[in-house]
Amino acid sequence: MGSIESLYDKIKNFTAQFFGGKGFSSTMTGYTTAELQASVFLLVLASLFRIFSVPLGIILVIAAIAGVIVFAPLIVTLERENESDLNRVLFWVVIYFAIIIAVTMWGR
C-alpha cells in the first residue's frame, strides 16, 4: 500500500511529535542525552542487584524497564529531586540513612 517514502514520512511525523518548538537548542540536546543516560544507568543499577541474588536482579531489570517506559521523561523527575532545596535534601538524607542502618543492622 504505502511506499518506503510514506513510511519514512510517517516515522518522521511520529518523531516530530516529541519536539515542541525548535528541537535542537543546546539545552535540549543536553536534556535528551541526560534522559538516555539516566535510563541506561537505571538499567545497569538494577542489574547490579544480581550480586545479592540473580532472580532479584532479573526482576529489578524488568521493573526498571517498565519504570523507564512508564515515567518517560525521567530527567524531569531527576532534576526536581536534585534541587538544592533544604527539605528535599533532608528527606533524601533521612531515607539514605535509614537504608544504611537497616541494611547494616538487619541485612544479614
Partner: protein
C-alpha cells in the same frame, strides 16, 4: 519541597525512615549500656598530679593542647566568617560585575524604663563581670576554669552592656582592638608550641613542666633556662597529707591567656557585627 508534599506518601516514607533510625540508635545505646571500655583514661588520671593540681586543665591543655589549638581556630574562623559575611568584606572580582551587598543597619536599642537601675547597677556589673573573667583566666593553673570560660564571661559582660546601653556600651571594644586581640590570642597559643618544638621536636611540649625528658628515647634534655622561664612564674606549693609538693603548670596558663584573648576577640566581634552592623564608611571614620 513544599510541606504539602511531605503530607502524602513521602511523609509516610520519611516517618518510617525516622522510625528505623530511632530503633537502630536505641539498640546501639542499649547495647552500649554498661559496656563502656575505659581505655587509656586511667593513665591520664595517674599522671595528672605530676604537673598541676587540676587534672581538668591538665587534660584539656597538656595532652589535648594541640587539639584545643585547632578548636580555638574554629571560633576564630567563626568570627572572621561572620564579619566577612555581615559586611566587612564581601570579596569582588575585578572583571565581574556583582550584586551590591545590602547596606548594614545597626540594631536600634531603645532604653526607656531601665534608666534608674542601670545608672547604679549595670555599669559596675559590667566592670565586675569583666574582672571576673580575668580572675578565671588567671586561675587557670589551679582551677577548672580556662581561656574559653574567661572569653565567654567577658563577652557576656559586653553583651549586657550592649543590651542596656545600646550604642553607648561601657565596654566599648573597638573593632580593630577586637581583631587585634583575637589574632594575638590565637598567634600566642600557636607560637607557645615553639620552645618545645625547637628543643625536642614535639610541638607544644610543655617545657615548663618537663615530665618526660628523663625517659629513654626522648630526643633532648630541656635547658634549665627554658624550664625556669616557663615553669617558675606559675610554681605553687601543694600542702597535702603526704607533705609539701612543688608543682608548676608550665605553659598551660599562658596558653589559657592566648585562648582567652582569642575567644574574647572572636565572640565579641560576632556580637558586635550582629548588633551594631558593619559598614565600610563607619570603618573609614573610625
Amino acid at each position: 519541597m513544599e510541606m504539602k508534599e511531605l503530607r502524602g506518601s513521602r511523609g509516610v516514607l520519611a516517618a518510617v525512615a525516622l522510625l528505623i533510625i530511632f530503633i537502630g540508635v536505641t539498640v546501639a545505646f542499649v547495647q552500649l549500656n554498661g559496656n563502656v571500655a575505659r581505655g587509656i583514661s586511667p593513665e591520664y588520671n595517674r599522671l595528672a598530679h605530676l604537673q598541676q593540681p587540676n587534672s581538668l586543665s591538665a587534660w584539656v591543655y597538656d595532652w589535648r593542647g594541640f587539639d584545643t589549638l585547632i578548636e580555638t581556630g574554629v571560633i576564630y574562623v567563626g568570627a572572621v566568617v561572620s564579619v566577612l559575611v555581615i559586611g566587612r568584606g564581601l570579596v569582588r572580582m575585578k572583571q565581574v560585575e556583582g550584586e551590591e551587598p545590602v547596606p548594614q543597619t545597626s540594631l536600634d536599642l531603645k532604653i526607656g524604663s531601665v534608666n534608674a537601675i542601670l545608672k547604679y547597677f549595670i555599669f559596675p556589673l559590667v566592670i565586675l563581670l569583666a574582672a571576673y573573667g580575668i580572675l578565671i583566666v588567671t586561675g587557670a593553673a589551679t582551677s577548672g576554669g580556662g581561656g574559653f570560660q574567661c572569653g565567654v564571661v567577658v563577652a557576656s559582660a559586653y553583651l549586657i552592656g550592649a543590651v542596656f546601653f545600646g550604642k553607648k556600651n561601657p565596654l566599648n571594644f573597638r573593632r580593630k582592638f577586637l581583631i587585634a586581640i583575637g589574632s594575638f590570642g590565637w598567634a600566642l597559643y600557636a607560637l607557645l608550641g615553639l620552645p618545645g618544638y625547637l628543643v625536642t621536636g614535639y610541638w607544644q611540649y610543655n617545657v615548663g613542666t618537663d615530665l618526660w625528658s628523663s625517659i629513654a628515647g626522648f630526643p633532648a634534655q630541656i635547658p634549665s633556662i627554658l624550664h625556669t622561664i616557663f615553669g617558675d612564674p606559675y610554681r605553687l606549693a601543694l600542702v597535702l597529707k603526704g607533705g609539701t609538693f612543688y608543682s608548676t603548670a608550665g605553659i598551660v596558663p599562658l596558653i589559657n591567656i592566648g585562648e582567652a584573648f582569642n575567644v574574647i576577640g572572636a565572640i565579641c566581634l560576632i556580637f558586635l557585627v550582629f548588633i551594631y552592623g558593619w559598614s565600610d564608611t563607619e570603618e573609614a571614620k573610625a
